[in-house]
Symmetry: C2
Subunit: 131 residues, 2 copies
């Protein structure tokens, strides 16, 4: 996996920006971070893994919620500091708030308005509210 | 513009991750950074502005290349540290390499292969090679 990692310019914290885009709808579902291990695991398993800066650990998306992300395509940008994954979102929910996408707030010129509905309650997804 | 900026969680460098997505094709074209001023300018003018970490200054995308990005929709994610813009890409080229998207390298399981063609030479875009 040297080929995979050598082309990536991890930042001073050892992280690279990772975007999950729905392969069917094209919608950007979430943005998170990967360390080298998370990127390697993503490429090896075909399921999105990230690195949580707050919890300081690598995790597989959906390991708790079941909302895993099957990766169909992995792309790297010109300067090597961001990847885009085309994924299938299990359950159709990427956001911990129970929405399809984390990008559910839209600027209307004077305020950020909530533009997307909650598809499933947080409590139902996690069995408790998200920390 | 307090409403715009107050919801955003800028990082310790005062930056937020900004994704430009083609409004027509849905393709993710680039990822860059915005400081508060760049975000404000983007919302006010309707054209994407970023902050260059290497040049340490705010810039309007396309100011040199002509490849401006007209913003149709601006969205913020659940934790407020990333925005997605749905844009029209002037000239159909977002990448400084002369490609439609910066994400032109695809992981094929053993190597990053160049998956997209150069549409216009860098020298032609900038009158010189990109620094």
């Amino acid at each position: 996996m040297d080929e995979l990692l050598n082309a990536v310019k991890f930042d001073e914290k050892g992280l690279v920006c990772a975007i999950a885009q729905d392969a069917a709808s094209g919608r950007v579902l979430m943005v998170a971070w990967m360390n080298a291990e998370a990127l390697r695991k993503t490429a090896e398993t075909g399921f999105a893994h990230y690195y949580s800066r707050s919890r300081r650990k690598q995790w597989m998306k959906g390991e708790e919620s079941g909302h895993t992300q099957k990766v169909h395509e992995l792309r790297l940008d010109c300067d090597g500091d961001a990847v885009v994954m085309l994924i299938s979102q299990n359950g159709g929910i990427a956001c911990h708030t129970g929405r399809e996408s984390c990008f559910y707030r839209r600027w209307n010129g004077s305020a950020w308005e909530t533009a997307d509905a909650v598809l499933k309650d947080e409590a139902e997804i996690y069995g408790h509210t998200h920390p």
